[in-house]
């Protein structure tokens, strides 16, 4: 059958009748989306390990991990969303919106902080659903839709906070009912071998495990790849495209809520103007981790590594006693390098 179509002189295929040979192991490993990021992470780690002696201590690693986790928790669903072919520029300020909501609901209504926490969860999921719904109904690019919600939330954060508290920050809720419990969940530390590790690090890794499982082992994960890879094809074989995207936006909302709660219970108060610019850090972490901007390709593990690289660079510059003004420059270089590596890897993976 098919072997007659192979011109003579060509190397015979491995299986009889096969036109394709099994791709070699290195190529299959390279085809994993997170490989480029892993190599990058190793390089950055060794670099700072060499130039910044304080970086070598376990305490420093815990700090790096904490820094990484606050970005990484949101970067995970942002990566899934990007695999699904969409952006969320509102994620950075949505974190603050969530923290402000929890803080102000608790303080203004003099409620147990858990009431505020749950209201904030509902608000965050609502913002995600709104983003997804607007996207599906208007057919506008997510860049525009979420840019709109980003600006709206930024304005609301400032205006509502000033209206209710007369200040740009919320009042401290540290003496309110349930604060201790909530702090234990969202912002405590766990001692491991004398090193205090923030609890968000464990949440981060736990969420990453769940995200990876969902992405690679469930029907929903299959749909994420499909809606990002070819939306029309996905629709024509019966994938609920709208539902998938709305669920992805809501998962970003959930992560924004979680990090917002971490901020609130770490510092007792929230500055209403913060969070602007963080949306790009999430997207950068996802891209460094191997997600394609065009969708359809990427991994949750990659986003973890991307966030870890981000954390290492942020803290490494401090430990190396460099001027932190250079930080954004390095971030830009890394982003470019990561994108080029991704491009190359994808060509290798799909080359015939």
């Amino acid at each position: 059958m098919t072997e007659t179509a192979v011109p003579p002189g060509k190397a015979p295929a491995t299986a009889p009748g096969a036109r394709t040979t099994r791709r070699s192991l290195p190529r299959r490993v390279l085809a994993r989306p997170e490989v480029g990021a892993l190599i990058g992470a190793l390089a950055v780690y060794l670099f700072f390990f060499a130039v910044a002696p304080p970086f070598r201590q376990m305490d420093s690693l815990a700090t790096v991990l904490y820094q990484s986790s606050t970005i990484g928790i949101v970067a995970l669903p942002v990566a899934l969303l990007m695999i699904g072919g969409e952006f969320d520029l509102s994620a950075g300020v949505a974190v603050i919106t969530s923290a402000l909501t929890a803080s102000m609901v608790s303080w203004q209504l003099t409620q147990n902080v858990w009431v505020g926490v749950l209201v904030a969860l509902a608000v965050s999921l609502g913002i995600g659903a709104l983003n997804g719904f607007l996207l599906m109904r208007t057919g506008l690019p997510s860049f525009l839709v979420t840019l709109g919600t980003f600006l709206m939330l930024q304005g609301l954060n400032l205006a509502v906070t000033k209206l209710l508290t007369g200040n740009v920050a919320t009042d401290s809720i540290s003496d309110m009912d349930g604060f201790g419990q909530a702090k234990a969940v969202f912002a405590s530390s766990v001692g491991i071998d004398g090193v205090q590790v923030k609890v968000t690090v464990f949440w981060w890794l736990g969420f990453a495990a769940i995200a990876t499982w969902v992405l690679l082992r469930t029907k929903f994960g299959n749909w994420i790849f499909a809606v990002g890879g070819n939306r029309d094809s996905a629709r024509s074989v019966g994938v609920p495209v709208g539902l998938t995207k709305i669920a992805l936006f809501m998962s970003v909302g959930f992560a924004a809520w979680f990090v917002g709660m971490n901020q609130l219970f770490s510092f007792d108060t929230v500055q209403s103007g913060e969070g602007v610019g963080n949306e790009f850090l999430y997207i950068i972490a996802a891209v460094i981790g191997g997600c394609l901007l065009t969708g359809g390709y990427g991994s949750a593990v990659g986003a973890v590594i991307g966030a870890f690289i981000f954390g290492m660079v942020t803290q490494g510059i401090v430990y190396a006693n460099w001027n932190p003004d250079w930080f954004k420059f390095f971030l830009g270089v890394m982003l470019l390098a990561a994108t080029l590596v991704n491009l190359w890897v994808r060509r290798q993976a799909t080359r015939r």
Binding site: T2, T4, T20, R22, R217, N222, F225, A226, A349, T350
Partner: protein
């Protein structure tokens, strides 16, 4: 027509003209406002036959597919599935009745592995809800089995489907339609964007689908491809049926002649004669005797001498 069914087919499928039609169109027409895209079209699709629908651009091929696949509704005539008149509202209903369409753009996601593409939208799962997960082993096994049944052997189902050739991708799409219960398969110009060798691959899978008992509607504008696998030929022109013939009633050169426009081609030659710079003396005298068609006809004649049109098909598709 009966002797065109390969001898190794299941006995009940031989003599397919006796089998009740899967899909039948009786005088079907379709108007878009006051544009009549299709008018008075009769078409019969039986199990284990390939019905070729040929026609130039704008002949009404696409409209015909859209009616049969449920994308549009006919405005005149009758559309019968299994002998009962139907009115399909969307492609999903058509699919539910076993009529699957493989479009040119294939509905695949290039960066996803072959097996994920195969089951996309109909994934197999196992386990209770919170931990309900993909049954990857079973999906790969089924996918491999179905592809092998179609004669496609891939030893790495994890490779992205985008890394397959156009013909292979088309074949995976056909295998998928077959697996998910298609009894009638509509192929929209599957060979149009493919090279010669790739077209051969697809034609082979069309033959394989027929051997599995499917009724195939093969839309094409290439009479050579149609003649290699077709059991019945319907040529559309300006929205009506110009020719409807079983395989044993028509030869390739006649089909080519009808496809090429027949009388229109003579008129075109006449017009060209009035354009300076075109030497009409060098053009063939008779459209039927175009060099390409001639060569094909000779090949067909040779094959006819040895063992009937079926041999021709085997020779071309093997």
């Amino acid at each position: 027509m009966s002797d065109t069914t390969p001898a190794f087919c299941a006995p009940e499928l031989v003599g397919s003209s006796a089998a009740p039609p899967l899909v039948e169109l009786r005088g079907v027409g379709k108007s878009y406002g006051n544009v009549r895209a299709l008018h008075g079209v009769d078409l019969v699709v039986r199990p284990s036959t390939v019905t070729c629908v040929l026609g130039d651009n704008g002949a009404g091929k696409s409209t015909l597919i859209k009616v049969v696949s449920g994308l549009h509704q006919h405005t005149e005539g009758e559309y019968l599935i299994d002998g009962a008149p139907v009115r399909l509202n969307n492609p999903r209903e058509a699919l539910g009745r076993g009529i699957a369409t493989v479009y040119q753009d294939l509905a695949t996601v290039p960066l996803m592995p072959v097996w994920r593409n195969f089951f996309l939208g109909s994934e197999l799962t196992r386990g209770p809800w919170p931990v309900r997960r993909l049954d990857i082993a079973r999906m790969k096994r089924v996918c491999d089995g179905e592809l092998r049944a179609m004669g496609i052997v891939l030893d790495d189902l994890e490779q992205p489907i985008g890394s397959l050739s156009g013909g292979q991708r088309q074949s995976v799409a056909i295998a998928r339609a077959v697996h998910f219960g298609a009894r009638a398969l509509i192929l929209d110009e599957p060979t149009a964007a493919l090279g010669v060798k790739q077209s051969g691959v697809v034609l082979k899978y069309i033959a394989a689908a027929r051997e599995r008992g499917l009724g195939v509607i093969f839309i094409t504008h290439n009479p050579h491809h149609a003649y290699m696998v077709g059991d019945h030929f319907t040529v559309l022109r300006l929205g009506t049926v110009e020719l409807s013939a079983a395989r044993d009633e028509i030869a390739l050169d006649q089909l080519t002649h009808h496809m090429a426009g027949g009388a229109e081609l003579a008129a075109l030659k006449h017009e060209l004669a009035q354009v300076r710079g075109v030497d009409t003396d060098e053009l063939p005298k008779d459209p039927d005797a175009a060099p390409e068609a001639q060569a094909e006809a000779e090949a067909a004649d040779e094959a006819d001498g040895t063992g009937g049109p079926d041999e021709t098909r085997e020779e071309h598709t093997a």
